[in-house]
Amino acid sequence: MTPSKLVFKSLTRRKGRFVFTLLGIMIGMASFVTFMALGGSLKSQIERESAALGANLVVTPKGSCAYEQVSILTGEQLPTNITKDEVAAIRSIEGMQAIPYLAERSAIENRPVSVMGILPNETRAFKSWTLAQGNYFPEESADGAVLGSVLAEQFGLTPGSDVRIRGVQIKVLGVLDETGGKDDLTVFLSLPVAQKIYEQKDLVSYVAVRVDRLDEVELYANKIKDKVSLGVVSDKQMRSSVLSIVGTVNMTLQLIAAVAILAAAFGIVNTMMTATYERKREIGILQAMGATRNCVFRLFLFESGIYGLIGGIGGAVLGGLGAVFATPYISQNAATSFVKGSQSSLDPAMFVGAILFSTLVAMIAGLYPAIKASKLSPVEAISYE
């Protein structure tokens, strides 16, 4: 006999209670791990999108807030009130490259997709895109669409297929190579065609700017502000602002998961308190056999810890699976659309941390019942019926 075997035998004596208590902690930990994994995924995806944007500065409509900044990274629809003249004024500044985008939304087979109006050749050079299938836009105002690789695969679209954007039938010209970012989930149209379909004549949503000298980003931001009355934000500011929003979202989700874990911890307290009362006589027998109070305390604490350990392992596995399977079904909105089509952030350290955390929480939850059990007098325990 070993303490661990004795504890395991005690635990599994009431199988139903064991399983239900375990389920409580598993569900709590699974939600925690899922949210952590998705949160990690969001953060890494933001970093990727920010890098994929390829811009040092982004010019947005005046009064844009963090939501618009998130939308630029996610491909959400944006207000389109930057005029052709303003774009021309920005593009006239030397020492930098400015690429306008019209960010819109549409639906294919009732599923929302991003639609982006671009200047084909400049954008291709700006983003270093390569083609996987078909052809690229033959000219700046060409009809037709070029698709991101994941979107093409999702909807089974190939060059020559037709795609309906806002009721307009458009021929698919080609499919881009995978970029690992939101471009993989976007329908690209030439800017004039997109402006026509969305009735945004001569308007764009934002302008991405890449300056030639990185140490002069601030200088160019001021130059742009001097030329046009628009908002200018650096990629670092944008990333930090978006990460801050995502951090808040993550924190909220993790707090919800923490409440679930707390509820599970009280489930353990309840189970262990019941065990303490039910097994009073057993405690007395152990004491009569020479078990010290410390020994009884450790046995009960160990028992609680086992709930946390098994619940933590089960929860981590369930949570990991949840993150992997939930990722493709995350609804498209500015805060979570990063996750769609991306890999979940399944960090082994997070799993180990979650299991340790779960064990710790369970042991803390088991402290009070263990103290109660250890404080029973042998005579009181033996005499209990």
Binding site: M1, T2, P3, K5, L6, K9, S10, T12, R13, R281, E282, G284, I285, L286, Q287, A288, M289, G290, A291, T292, R293, N294, C295, S377, P378, V379, I382
Partner: protein, 232 residues
């Protein structure tokens, strides 16, 4: 009495206070000879079990002292008392008190574990003990699969796990039929031959008649301490 293994002097045990004060023992002096079969008799509620609990170090006296092998148990803290119980005393209770989730062998192994016997040696020792009480073939049976007499013999084997010199038994045959009682008494007779000191709380005059030493408890006091000659 020469070299008693257990002795008590002025042993007092009270529960509660004020109007609810219960004087369970009111100044008990006794000596239990080494290697004897001692019976504690007396009506229910007169302090037999309380006396046994104090003699076994399961409880602290309100006053007086209990000595085992010359060591004053009333001076020991809970940890030292637990250690003493593990080394010197084996308990057997009326209701067997086996751990229901464990097999007969595992019940004995648990006592061995608490006594610090290494895991590898536990199996052999537990089998030997079961053999000694005639239950070698029931090693893997759970308590629910054993008769009352068999359960009590497993409890005796468990009490002997650490080879203690003293066995304290609180009405161990109180729940057994005469056949099972005879099985248990046979085991105890063997143990006595091996030199164990057996303290046996009982209501049975037949068992009391077999005692070397009889202690009668009435109203928390020793009424008629007397030495018995064996009925045989």
């Amino acid at each position: 009495m020469n070299n008693p293994i257990i002795s008590a002097k002025g042993l007092v045990k009270q529960y509660g206070q004020g109007a609810t004060l219960v004087k369970a023992l009111r100044g008990v002096d006794l000596e239990i000879p080494r290697g004897s079969f001692t019976c504690i008799i007396g009506p229910s509620g007169h302090g037999k079990s309380t006396l046994m609990h104090l003699l076994g170090g399961l409880d602290h006296p309100t006053g007086g002292s209990v000595f085992i092998d010359g060591e004053d148990m009333s001076q020991l803290d809970n940890k030292k008392l637990a250690s003493l119980r593990a080394k010197k005393i084996g308990f057997v209770f009326q209701f067997f008190n086996l751990l229901q989730s464990l097999t007969a062998k595992e019940n004995i192994e648990t006592a061995l574990m608490l006594a610090g016997v290494p895991h590898k040696e536990q199996d052999k020792r537990a089998k030997e003990l079961l053999q000694m009480v005639g239950l070698a073939e029931k090693a893997e049976a759970k308590p629910g699969q054993l008769s009352g007499g068999q359960q009590q013999r497993v409890a005796i084997a468990r009490a002997l796990a650490n080879d203690p010199p003293v066995l304290l038994m609180d009405e161990p045959t109180g729940n057994l039929d005469s056949e099972a009682e005879a099985e248990v008494m046979k085991v105890l007779a063997n143990l006595k031959r091996q030199g164990k000191t057996i303290v046996f709380v009982t209501h049975s005059n037949d068992i009391a008649a077999k005692a070397d030493n009889l202690i009668s408890v009435h109203d928390g006091q020793i009424q008629l301490p007397q030495e018995f000659k064996k009925a045989s």
